[in-house]
Amino acid sequence: MVTATHALTVKGLRKSYGDVVAVDGLDLDVSLGECFGLLGPNGAGKTTTIEICEGLLSRDAGDVVVLGKTWEHNGDHLRQQLGIQLQDTQLSEKLTVLETLRLFRSFYRRGRTVDEVIDIVEIGEKRNARIGSLSGGQKQRLAVACALVGDPELLFLDEPTTGLDPQSRRQMWKLIEDLQATGRTIVLTTHYMEEAERLCDRVAIVDHGRVIARGSPRELIDTIGASHPPPPPKATSATLEDVFVALTGRTLRDE
């Protein structure tokens, strides 16, 4: 059941590609105003889950309710309400930052002005630069800016800091924290446990298409302290990374 306090509810979600089961009965609930982290190794089903929630993929079974609505009945309405940053999108390199944002802004009935989002993601000095000339961090911030032009109630960020240098990553964290402070609901996927620990109110660890652990980063770290051997002597205390490796194993996962 959906209540007004939930931004996203997923129940019994399933999705297969031929014989490969990507999502296998996954449940999630994201409260309004929280930053929720979806963690998991490569191929765990995070992106498939997120893309179903974004209305980009169909599902085989299960229920998905976004902001109290379903994609089947309220697709147009939902697209106006969501801000989405996808993994690996390459915006047209021949357009400038300003031209790209004006394009995305034109799709939304209401939202922020292009100048406002340029200020939010701090890309003002590059407003007239072509995207081809931007650094990786600037491109990622622009991708987030494109997700913000419709002033969304719910923001999906799919690995927003993957491939960024430490400075750009910290800049992105600050941006996400600022968005959180304005009361936006954020669903975030990441490979970086440090990032999840710092940004997320709650996380779900996904493996083999199912949620295998959920709770606040602190709760999960406490759990691991109780049920698994203590961390190696060098470490001063357990981290979310220890929880992640303990639950998903040490085997390399390649997509």
Binding site: E54, L103, F107
Partner: protein
């Protein structure tokens, strides 16, 4: 008054901020910021027209080169008669040299004088040899005193519309409409799909119809420039005629551009990579470059292929353009061609939409 100005400013602002305007502007910007696309669309057809126009310009027919066996002393009368005809170049050669010149094609015909008359040696399968035969015989007979029983008056004309450049300009225009329609649209769409930009756009409230319409609108703008450039260039530099109505020419170009755009959409409907769309585009366009009468008439191909050749969209486009420009044909008289082009437009567009991969 002031209210009116404010309202107009508001309306103008709204128009520029509309998705269809922004999407069309993106198409424009991406095109003009790709210099190679501008070259292939505008400059290349003009350069090709210049090259072909110069290579195949109208020249007086070459004078046939003929030989006479023997010596001037021995065949004075014959040689004199032949040299009196300005249409022939005459060499007097010893027998062996004359035979070799004929064998190697240096002369088109060899005159061998006999006591009772002359003998002509030539290859009747060679066009210039047949012409040389007629001219040689006329010169020898007239030299010997023949008079023509029918009086003839000659009036020399040079008709615009029958030269090679007149044939090739409409062909180049058709080829250009095909290239920029199919390649221009297919490349943009597959590029957006390969970069996951199409998927990103699908996650916004953008209308799919408006996305496709932006391609149509920007194509229509560039189409106008393409047609004006090539037809204008042909008319100004080579005096290629445009005998039909400009409105009919505009309609033919418009429907053709839409049909090729629909083919571009069909080509791009499933492909995920630039390599894939390059191959598929060439596969679609190559047969039309060869068979559809761009550089030479499609009628040169055997009869058995003609129904298939005439079903190709570029054949219909080239035929309709030539009928309009060279013969002054009305739209109604190119109805058959327009029906073929329209059928391609509808079938390609409907199929493309049915199988299109929006991500």
């Amino acid at each position: 008054m002031r209210k009116g100005i404010l309202l107009r400013a508001y309306t103008r602002m709204r128009l520029i901020d509309r998705p269809i305007t922004q999407l069309t502007l993106v198409r424009f910007r991406e095109f003009v910021r790709t210099p190679e696309a501008v070259f292939w669309t505008f400059l290349f057809p003009v350069l090709l027209a210049i090259g072909l126009g110069v290579a195949f310009r109208s020249r007086p027919p070459e004078r046939p080169h003929i030989g006479v066996v023997g010596s001037i002393q021995g065949n004075g009368m014959i040689v004199k008669s032949l040299r009196a005809d300005s249409g022939l170049i005459v060499d007097v050669l010893p027998d062996t040299a004359a035979q070799r010149a004929l064998r190697t094609g240096r002369i088109a015909l060899l005159v061998v004088p006999h006591p009772a008359g002359v003998e002509y040696k030539y290859d009747p399968a060679r066009r210039e040899a047949v012409a040389a035969r007629l001219l040689t015989d006329r010169a020898i007979q007239r030299g010997a005193g023949r008079t023509d029983p029918v009086p003839v008056v000659e009036r020399k004309v040079s008709e615009r519309g029958s030269r090679y450049i007149d044939f090739v300009i409409p062909g180049l225009l058709g080829m250009n409409l095909m290239g920029s329609g199919i390649w221009g649209i297919a490349f943009s769409i597959v590029d957006a799909r390969a970069k996951k930009l199409l998927k990103r756009l699908m996650a916004t409230p953008m209308s799919r119809v408006q996305y496709l319409m932006s391609f149509v609108l920007s194509r229509l703008f560039w189409l106008t420039l393409e047609v004006v450039t090539l037809v204008g260039f042909g008319a100004l530099v080579f005096k290629v005629p445009v005998r039909g109505s400009l409105a009919a020419l505009a309609v033919i170009c418009l429907v053709s551009a839409l049909a090729f755009g629909a083919l571009g959409l069909l080509v791009s409907s499933r492909v995920r990579t630039i390599d894939g769309v390059s191959g598929l585009t060439n596969l679609v366009m190559f047969p039309m470059w060869i068979f559809s009468g761009v550089f030479f008439s499609a009628a040169n191909f055997p009869k058995v292929f003609q129904p298939a050749i005439h079903a190709l969209p570029l054949t219909a486009v080239n035929d309709a353009l030539r009928a309009n420009m060279l013969e002054g044909a009305s739209l109604a008289s190119v109805g058959g061609e327009m029906a073929i082009i329209s059928a391609w437009l509808v079938v390609a567009f409907v199929t493309a939409l049915a199988i299109f991969r929006w991500r």
